[in-house]
Amino acid sequence: MSAVVFARHQITPAERLRDAGWVAFVALILGIPLIGLTTVDAGGSLEVSTRFGLLAACVVAAFGGRLGLRWMIDTMGARKLERQRADTGKSVGISPVKVVNVIGWIALGASIALPIMYSDNRYVVDTATTVLIYVMLGWGLNVVVGLAGLLDLGYVAFYAVGAYSYALLSTQYGWGFWEALPVSGGLAATFGILLGYPILRLRGDYLAIVTLGFGEIIRIILVNWTEFSNGPNGISSIPRPTLFGLEFSRSAAEGEQTFSTFFGIDYSPMHRLIFLYYLILVLALLTHAFVSRLRKLPIGRAWEALREDEIACQAMGMNTTNIKLSAFAIGAMLGGFAGMFFAARQGFISPESFTFTESAIILAIVVLGGMGSQMGVVLAATLLVLIPEFGRNFSEYRMLLFGAAMVLIMVWKPSGLLSHREPTLRLSRGGARNQDALEEAAQ
């Protein structure tokens, strides 16, 4: 937040009213064509109908809302100023790293306990599984965007490659989940390199559009190449993963045992859901461990160096080609694993699940969470999955709220929810500045 506070002059109520009036006027202009007027179908042609009452209500709401918002910002600003004055000189002892770590452990504990607490509630376990898929995707994309600083708008392509390779391997060749896991990841990584190679020279937004195009190309091919991917019909009856050969079904195939008969418990469809949940939890944790480890290795340092200054990297004699390609490949591989799990969980995939919107949401998770922050990804993924789910109760406003939330969070915290970024290499000192950042995050 702005550190410099200029001499504040007292803002008069009249100024506030004028400001709110201006906002209300803008709301009126914006509201006339969409809220005030609407076209309705009247027997084969359109007719204009008016909703000026609603428009007036919106304008009044804008006026009141603006006044309230300003008042809130003013009081909060004043309070913060006071606190800053009171705090000067006092330095806080605990390091932010520790706090984040503690929170991480709590979150981990909560996520392990969740299916036990909700062992009879499909919806909760299933939604939590979705959250974890997005967490894993976010961590994968974080390698490309957060660490290596390469803007990728087509990440969903690797997700699709992972999902389709498992779907095809299992339904066509009878591969199991565990045999297919390395192959799917490897295929996705190959695609990552294939995409990375031609666009090594591109920067910034040129990179963004090409990756976007790559994602679309993969999707269009999946839709149209029917012999290969079964086209828009998708692939159904994808086998579910097993626990060391134990199936999660009511009755097992010839010579196999089911999970419930093996342990001598009653069959319940919840067993599989809970198993899937723990499976993705383990996969996600492995991803986390893997990425954190990589960050401490030369390759991870090279990614971050590349993000900060490509020219300096070249000048230092680093091989930027390999660094970029390895970032793409590893990011893609993690996306492939997530996609594979997605296919195994859904049991049905079709190209509709791999649209650009999906890429945008994954990217939003990384950026909203705070680029490069692993915990931030968890927080953002939870938010972005739960907002539309909560919205189910007021169905038509669901996506409207989702879009508004994305804008508001970004405006409120431009560098992400957990923007604090821990330098990989650091001198040992806890900073008061970092503590501030954390407090802000906690508000």
Binding site: V26, I29, L30, I32, P33, L34, I35, L37, T38, T39, D41, S45, L46, E47, V48, V145, L151, P198, I199, R201, L202, R203, D205, Y206, A208, I209, V210, L212, G213, F214, E216, I217, I220, I221, V223, N224, I311, A312, A315, F356, A360, L363, A364, V367, L368, M371, E396, Y397, M399, L400, F402, G403, A404, A405, M406, V407, M410, V411, P414, S415
Partner: protein, 304 residues
């Protein structure tokens, strides 16, 4: 031959439309260096405004086509530029000076918001208007095929040329254009020299939105049917066009738009229509491999 000519006309019309939207992208990109993902949705909003305006005119029994078009254009440009202004003020201005990705995400959020806001307030059903301009010119008639160019197609191409010339003049010859270009080059220096940067950026957004409004009216006139979803595809195509031509360059955006229109129509005319988007993106990748900053873009020189 006649068939190819007809597809050429189709491609030029489509390309002009992409070009119009792409110029808006490019102007915004040029001044603040961000991809305005909500631009396609602003275009969609303008099309809805145009439908409402046309319906109002029909109810008022206005039959003169030029009069109706002028009225709809003015109304649509007015309200759409208000939207352009508001989007910048709400979603982008607070993020100026933060990371490059923050405004991108906020733009994606804005795009989702606008799409759903329109769906809620105007309904999910498609909005049709009766054909405004009918008929056309028979350009060439062979026994098996008659090449036609509709008046509405001619109108679109003509309007695009006028807009292109007008905006080039605006950017290169007027005081506003000079301010705009100076903000592109160095915002801090520009503000030190007494240029109101905020106002210049706002005005650029309004200009971009006006172009989207013109495109929105043209789409409504030409296709006659719109829905709340049209912004998404058009936005992606126009963005591709802007990058293909070299983002930041006005003639580049136009060239990119036309190229994509032509690729799409010839690819679907002679090859497999279902793979036309693959062709578009593949050509984009090829061009960028050879010229990393697009066809007419200036290569970025980075000083160390």
């Amino acid at each position: 031959m006649a068939y190819a000519l007809q597809q050429l006309i189709n491609g030029l019309t489509l390309g002009s439309m992409y070009g119009l939207i792409a110029i808006g992208y490019t102007m915004v990109y040029g001044i603040i260096g961000m991809i305005n993902f909500a631009h396609g949705d602003i275009f969609m909003v303008s099309a809805f405004i145009a439908v409402t305006a046309f319906t109002l005119l029909a109810a008022a029994d206005v039959t003169s086509v030029p009069l109706a078009l002028t009225f709809v254009l003015i109304v649509s440009i007015f309200f759409t530029s208000a939207y352009g202004w508001a989007v910048e003020r709400i979603a982008y201005r607070p993020l100026r000076g933060s990371t490059r990705l923050a405004p991108l995400i906020s733009a994606i959020g804005m795009s989702i918001f606008l799409q759903n806001a329109v769906q809620l307030t105007q309904g999910a059903r498609v909005k049709p208007i009766p054909p405004v301009i009918q008929g056309g010119l028979e350009v060439w008639s062979t026994p098996e095929f008659t090449v036609q160019i509709g008046w509405s197609q001619l109108l679109i191409i003509a309007v695009t040329v006028v807009m292109m010339v007008g905006f080039t003049w605006l950017i290169t010859q007027t005081p506003f254009g000079r301010q705009q270009r100076s903000c592109e080059q160095d915002r801090t220096m520009a503000s030190l020299l007494g240029i109101n940067v905020d106002r210049t950026i706002s005005f650029t957004f309004m200009l971009g939105a006006s172009l989207a409004a013109v495109a929105g009216v043209m789409v409504t006139v030409y296709y006659g049917v719109i829905d709340f979803y049209i912004g998404f595809l058009a936005g992606i195509k126009a963005f591709t066009a802007a990058v293909l031509g070299g983002i930041g360059s006005l003639p580049g955006a136009m060239l990119g738009g036309l190229l994509i229109g032509l690729i799409e129509s010839f690819w679907s005319a002679y090859l497999w229509a279902e793979y036309k988007d693959v062709a578009t993106f593949a050509i984009l990748v090829l061009v960028l491999m050879l010229r990393p900053s697009g066809l007419l873009g200036r290569p970025e020189v980075e000083k160390v």
